[in-house]
């Protein structure tokens, strides 16, 4: 029998019981849709991880203090990682070209009657460079493909200079919404703002920014920001000297391992960490490179993806069992038809193909609808995951392929059973 006629008779078989075929298809639709949405969740998580660490260049080492929780508070396990240590690092470690530092703290920001409780970021003068090079945000409606410079990120004024950082200058740069909230449309440049009851001069305002990576859209609010020189922030926001986060740029990318060793030795010396009885160093700081972060976080995201995909596959298998069930009933009901077909000369192969095509058709139709439902459902599942869900393009052929395979595998047994019927018995069947 030709392929075309086999498909025709398979279609006829499905049309013979539309309700049942529809319900069976629904099982596959749900399975395929969950594969698509689950993989989108995994993909979103991975993409968010990547975006979070993009700013850490391949020539950088991130230095952070090790924390522990003590009586409900997060405290360093040993000594803090001080601003001073960061400042000295390029002088003490030959391979470190320069460092940038950041710190974050809660501050009460006031201008006249308007008061905001918000996160204040203290950075070195490279702070704006980091914002630009992270590429997590861009000026709103920025055309694709055109690179942006530091200047286009500033609506008015300027960012603070290295000199202002060293001299604890009382200056600040505001996010677009923060400026509007505080000054209600007035020009804030050269105006005074109070940070925890200390005077501060506004020297710059950012343009309105948007998040470039959809996976991060609900996670960061680029227009609600308040930047100060890190030295000023430490003075204003903290009673005790806090730990800073140091990003050290290495002059030679080929010597990352050596640089890592040198930085470690420098900090061990400063923190007076010696070998303990077991012959180990108990460091109170952590060094991380881009490779390490990406490797570890992506491995976690991948495990997450696999788990989700496994769950989705389980629902597809349930759909497949549905197909098998319906096909077995169908074979039983159509025993006589099979007998007639065998009597007029259908080979076992013809019968197998006819029933297999039926199963595959059901799963293929379920696959197409499932992909549509899955893609449409992504924004809804994103709401349950802080907006982190991104269609994984490969999930469409994957889900469809798995659906077809499900139809094929679960259709095989009923089809083989149909083909192995004895024609005489089948013809007698009522």
């Amino acid at each position: 029998m030709t392929l075309f006629n086999t498909i025709l008779s398979a279609l006829g078989g499905i049309a013979g019981n539309r309700l049942r075929a529809t319900l069976t298809t629904l099982g596959i639709v749900i399975g395929v849709a969950s594969v698509i949405t689950m993989l989108a969740l995994g993909n979103g998580a991975r993409s968010a991880v990547e975006a979070n660490f993009r700013h850490l260049g391949s020539d950088s080492v991130l230095v952070r203090v090790k924390d522990k929780i003590d009586q409900g508070e997060i405290v360093p396990v040993g000594k803090i990682l001080s601003y001073e240590e960061g400042l000295q690092m390029p002088k003490e470690v030959a391979l470190v070209k320069w460092v940038s530092m950041t710190i974050g703290g809660e501050g009460k920001i006031r201008h006249e009657r308007n008061v905001l409780d918000m996160l204040v970021t203290g950075t070195t003068a490279e702070g704006i460079l980091n914002i630009v090079s992270q590429q997590q945000v861009q000026p709103i409606n920025w055309p694709d493909g055109i690179p942006f410079s530091e200047e286009v990120f500033l609506d008015r004024g300027r960012f603070f200079t290295p000199a202002e950082v060293v001299s604890n200058a009382r200056v600040c740069v505001l996010g677009h919404k923060t400026a509007t909230d505080l000054y209600e449309g007035d020009d804030p440049i050269e105006k005074v703002v109070w940070v925890n009851r200390q005077r501060c001069l506004v020297i710059g305002v950012f343009v309105e920014l948007e998040v470039t990576n959809p996976a991060l859209r609900n996670q960061i609010r680029p227009n609600e920001s308040f930047y100060m020189p890190i030295s000023t922030a430490i003075e204003n926001l903290f009673d005790d000297e806090p730990s800073v986060e140091i990003t050290a740029r290495i002059s030679d990318e080929g010597q990352m391992a050596q640089a890592r060793k040198d930085i470690t030795n420098y900090l061990r010396e400063r923190h007076e960490i010696a070998l303990n009885e077991e012959g180990d160093y108990e460091d109170d700081f952590d060094l991380t490179t881009r490779q390490e972060i990406l490797g570890a976080q992506q491995a976690a995201a991948r495990t997450f993806s696999f788990l989700l995909a496994a769950m989705a596959i389980v629902s597809l298998v349930v759909g497949g069992i549905g197909i098998m069930n319906v096909m077995l009933v169908s074979v039983m009901e159509r025993t006589r038809e099979i007998g007639i077909r065998l009597a007029v000369g259908a080979g076992q192969r013809d019968i197998i193909l006819q029933f297999l095509f039926e199963a595959v058709l059901i799963s293929a139709v379920g696959g197409v609808f499932g992909i549509a439902v899955g893609v449409l459902a992504i924004p809804f599942v994103a709401n349950f995951n802080e907006g982190v869900a991104l269609l994984a393009p490969a999930s469409i052929p994957l889900a469809f392929g798995v659906a077809l395979l499900t139809g094929l595998l679960f259709g095989l047994y009923p089809a083989a059973r149909a083909a192995s019927l004895d024609p005489i018995e089948a013809l007698r069947h009522e």
Binding site: M1, E337, A343, V344, P423
Partner: protein, 237 residues
């Protein structure tokens, strides 16, 4: 005349036994006979006489336990399932008591079905229409079996049996589900099929061999020859 052509059916010492639980049932005990081309043979006998078993063996739906069966000179008693399907498709046409049409398909599609199992053939529609008009219901081609009367259904079934131009037509109680008048019409159609075969593709018309299974002596009268069966043996030729 008989010497010129080999017999269409040549059966020698054909037997079939079934395992029924502990015991073995001898449904057919070494039957031998021949049927010449163009013959019209009726198989008669009470139920349990083995006529259905013989019919299944002749129709290549079953394989004998012993003995040989030659169809058109070819030994078909030891074929694989695939080969048997091929023989059924090319050499045998079935007409059943219960018509056995596919309810989802219209008359035309039912008649076409055996041709479709033959593979690629551009003349399928033409041949099916030819067969339908030969049995006299070309105007019902688009009707489904449920929209046809019993007699019309059996005509469709006969069209399906002859559309492949088979060597033999096996009719199993073809009038069993019909009233006597319609039954007579169907029997006339079958004798016509036997006596005045259709010319096709300019070939010489082939006389059609028909084997009829019945327990109705009136129906059997249409045949030229009657084989009586009892207890798995032919008792009277």
């Amino acid at each position: 005349m008989f010497m010129e052509k080999p017999p269409v059916i040549q059966v020698e010492e054909l037997s079939r036994e079934y395992q029924m639980g502990e015991s073995i049932v001898q449904a057919l005990r070494g039957v031998s006979f021949q049927v010449q081309k163009g013959d019209f043979v009726a198989l008669m006998g009470p139920s349990g006489s083995g006529k259905s078993t013989l019919m299944h063996l002749l129709g290549c739906l079953d394989t004998p336990s012993a003995g040989t069966y030659r169809l058109n000179g070819q030994d078909v008693s030891r074929l694989s399932k695939r080969q048997m399907a091929l023989v059924r498709n090319q050499q045998i046409g079935f007409v059943f008591q219960t018509f056995n049409l596919l309810p989802r398909l219209n008359a035309m599609a039912n008649v076409k079905m055996p041709l479709l199992y033959r593979g690629r053939n551009s003349r399928v529609d033409e041949q099916a229409r030819e067969a339908l008009s030969w049995v006299g219901i070309a105007n019902r081609a688009q009707h489904r079996p449920s929209e046809l009367s019993g007699g019309q259904r059996q005509r469709v079934a006969i069209a399906r049996a002859l559309v492949t131009n088979p060597a033999i037509i096996l009719a199993d109680e073809p009038t069993g589900n019909l009233d006597s008048r319609t039954g007579a019409e169907i029997m006339q159609l079958l004798s016509q099929l036997n006596q005045k075969p259709i010319a096709r593709n300019g070939e010489t018309p082939q006389p059609r061999t028909i084997i009829l299974v019945t327990h109705d002596p009136q129906v059997a009268q249409y045949a030229h020859r009657i084989l009586h069966m009892q207890d798995g043996e032919i008792t009277n030729d």
